[in-house]
């Protein structure tokens, strides 16, 4: 062993990286492209944009991994992977992959990694991506960083994955030094959606799964699609208004909803509001809730903890209303108002209603 076993473990972060010989052949950046019922989850394209940057920085290729049952839609997805930046598309078509199940998907992705040896593997932090990434990383006995909010490669070509830590109170940067591939998941909307280039093309590499339906224990009996009407679409809304503990009680969230309705936007809240039971979890904005990238984000009575900041930083314009001039939210807002949200929200709603109403009548 290079290091005597008595060396204190705490020194590991500064330890010189010595990648074991058998990992040195691991090259290229991979993105798992999540396809469910013929549709690609947008987070996969967001990751392709990010993966392209990492691959260019490393001087390697970007590959997409597409798993599913044989269908015309899947062929279309393969073409799209090139448009979003893939040089290679690894594809595994098998009837057992028609719907997501942990067992065959873990097998397919693990086999592909073991065969083609990527240095970086990125997945969306969706219910599917997290289910799959945890199994694949454990099977491969490698490092996996969840919910990364920033990805980069350092001078030693090691993946630096930054994420909130300690319940979202600080950020930390995590590396997988001596194992490959270096794996990370990223939540939807954290990375910007790249523009597809329909002139791009790439090469396709086939993979055979070699599993029978009889080998797979879990069966999908049914898929019950969510009713479209009652779902909040915070992540993709152009305008979002959210309230925090500064609103003092659940009734005052009517003020947030009214402003959102006036602007034709969505409403949301900070994490403590959900923990208090004032709003359902689907309305939560921040690292463990929805990441948003609206054109306008109005935060009322929200202090701006790191776990909230990472979920809203992609917004074009952040307007913060808070009585505390030292609130963290003013460190990343574009416009700040030191005042009581309970007074400002109705005034702002009236101002917008007047302006939009007048314009609407005039046109």
């Amino acid at each position: 062993m290079a290091n005597p076993p008595t060396k204190p473990a705490a020194g590991r972060a500064g330890m010189k990286k010595e990648l074991p010989e058998h990992f040195k052949a691991y090259r290229h950046v991979w993105v798992y492209v999540e396809v469910e019922r013929g549709r690609v989850h947008p987070v996969s394209w967001e990751l392709m944009g990010e993966g392209r940057k990492l691959a260019d920085k490393l001087g390697v290729e970007l590959a997409a991994v597409v798993l599913g049952a044989k269908s015309p839609e899947l062929k279309q997805v393969v073409r799209q992977t090139y448009h979003y930046g893939a040089d290679i598309c690894y594809i595994c078509e098998d009837a057992t992959l028609a719907e997501y199940r942990n067992q065959p998907y873990t097998r397919a992705l693990t086999d592909l990694v073991n065969t083609h040896k990527p240095e970086i593997l990125l997945l969306g932090a969706t219910t599917l991506g997290r289910d799959l990434a945890g199994s694949v990383a454990t099977t491969l006995k490698t490092g996996l960083t969840a919910d990364s909010t920033e990805l980069d490669v350092d001078d030693e070509k090691s993946l630096a994955a930054t994420r909130p830590t300690f319940g979202g109170t600080l950020l930390c940067t995590i590396h997988t030094l001596n194992f490959r591939p270096q794996m990370a998941t990223v939540r939807p909307r954290v990375m910007a959606m790249p523009e597809p280039d329909t002139t791009r093309s790439g090469r396709m590499v086939w993979h055979t799964l070699g599993m029978n339906e009889a080998d797979i224990v879990t069966k999908v009996l049914d898929f019950v699609a969510d009713a479209a009407s009652n779902k909040a679409n915070l992540a993709y809304a152009d305008i979002v208004v959210a309230g925090g503990m500064g609103l003092q009680n659940p009734q005052n969230f009517e003020l947030v909803k009214r402003l959102a309705a006036t602007l034709g936007g969505e409403y949301g809240c900070s994490r403590p509001v959900v923990q208090k039971g004032w709003m359902p979890a689907e309305r939560q904005i921040g690292q463990t809730g929805n990441t948003i990238r609206p054109k306008l984000y109005i935060a009322a009575g929200i202090s701006g903890a790191i776990q909230h900041r990472v979920g809203v930083e992609g917004s074009d314009l952040i307007v913060a209303i808070n009585t505390d001039p030292n609130a963290k939210i003013f460190e990343f807002a574009h416009l700040g108002i030191v005042a009581d949200a309970l007074t400002v929200l109705p005034a702002l709603t009236d101002a917008f209603a007047r302006r939009l109403g007048v314009r609407a009548l005039a046109s």
Binding site: A9, A10, A13, M15, E36, Q103, T127, L128, D131, G134, S135, A137, T138, K141, T142, G143, L144, A146, P164, T165, F166, G167, G168, T169, L170, L171, T173, T176, N178, V217, T218, K219, D222, F223, V224, I239, L263, G264, Q275, A281, K295, L296, I306, L317, A320, F330, F332, A333, H334, G336, I337, V338, V344, P346, A347, L348, D350, A351, F352, R355
Partner: protein
């Protein structure tokens, strides 16, 4: 049925404070709780036990003080509690944690074979959702994550039907025991522990295992040494380079403040104004 619920003791996140200068967590005096998501797992486990018979064991990895969390679970109605605690587990990432827990589960299963392992969907301090799948993978348990409801359980056939939260809908899955289930929030309502359970919990003995007691043979797979990930730095983000433009509020009526904000919003986002008034 032998059902094991893996729980974690976490700091009450509402009360975590960061030292403004050193960027370290100030742990002193921060109360600890059972990870809230794990309570949905515990309740579901107890519900199955009450219906099908058997026992619920709660398993926790953590410092010696995590015994409090296990005692609380006993007070809520769990039958047996095991704490695996060892300095050599310190610094474990999710891969090393799933190794230690999976090994302890194997040891527990030798006494009474385990039918179902439950965990919460994730913890509120790490938020990774990786340990559950890690355990399932190591023990080759059928993995059912983000379960919103268990529709049915056929003990004789060893079959289970569960509803799993997926993107854009719910998968109804039929699987077999033994399995690992990570429970979604809101899946059930936690019972209040009975007086008998509270009294029993106060007197009950929490089994405390070292790495060796838990059956861990390879200590290189534990703690920092068994963790492929390395935290290189912990930091607070810098304020945005361009500071926020503060809207003057002094001596203004709410209506004037409202107009001032609106003018600044539209000045910075002229396209938005056009879209809204279109």
């Amino acid at each position: 049925m032998h059902i094991v619920v893996c729980i974690k003791q976490v700091p009450d996140s509402a009360q975590i404070r960061v030292h403004p200068v050193t960027n370290t967590i100030m742990r002193q005096g921060v109360p600890t709780i059972i990870n809230p998501y794990d309570l949905f797992a515990l309740e579901e486990a107890m519900r199955l036990r009450d219906e099908f018979g058997g026992r619920v064991t709660v398993l926790c990895m953590g410092p010696p003080m995590a015994e409090d969390a296990l005692r609380r679970a006993l007070g809520l109605g769990a039958d047996q509690a095991v704490l695996i605690t060892d300095r050599r587990f310190a610094g474990s990432d999710t891969l090393a944690t799933s190794f230690a827990l999976a090994t302890a589960l194997e040891t527990l299963g030798k006494e009474h074979p385990i039918d179902i392992v439950f965990t919460g969907k994730q913890t509120i301090d790490g938020d990774t959702a990786q340990v559950g799948p890690g355990i399932a993978c190591r023990l080759e348990l059928n993995q059912l994550t983000y379960v919103a409801a268990i529709d049915s359980l056929d003990k004789a056939k060893g079959e289970i039907v569960a509803r799993r939260r997926a993107e854009g809908g719910v998968q109804v899955l039929k699987s077999k025991l033994p399995c690992l289930i990570t429970m979604l929030e809101g899946a059930n309502t936690l019972r209040r522990g009975s007086v008998q359970d509270m009294l029993r919990a106060a007197r009950a003995k929490v089994t405390v295992w070292s790495a060796e007691d838990a059956g861990v043979g390879d200590l290189l797979k534990c703690g920092l040494r068994g963790s492929p990930t390395v935290v290189k730095k912990v930091f607070a983000p810098q304020p945005r380079e361009e500071p926020a433009e503060m809207v003057a509020v002094e001596g203004k009526t709410p209506a004037q403040i409202g107009d001032a904000i609106l003018d600044l919003v539209f000045a910075r986002q002229p396209k938005l104004e056009a879209e809204l008034t279109a």
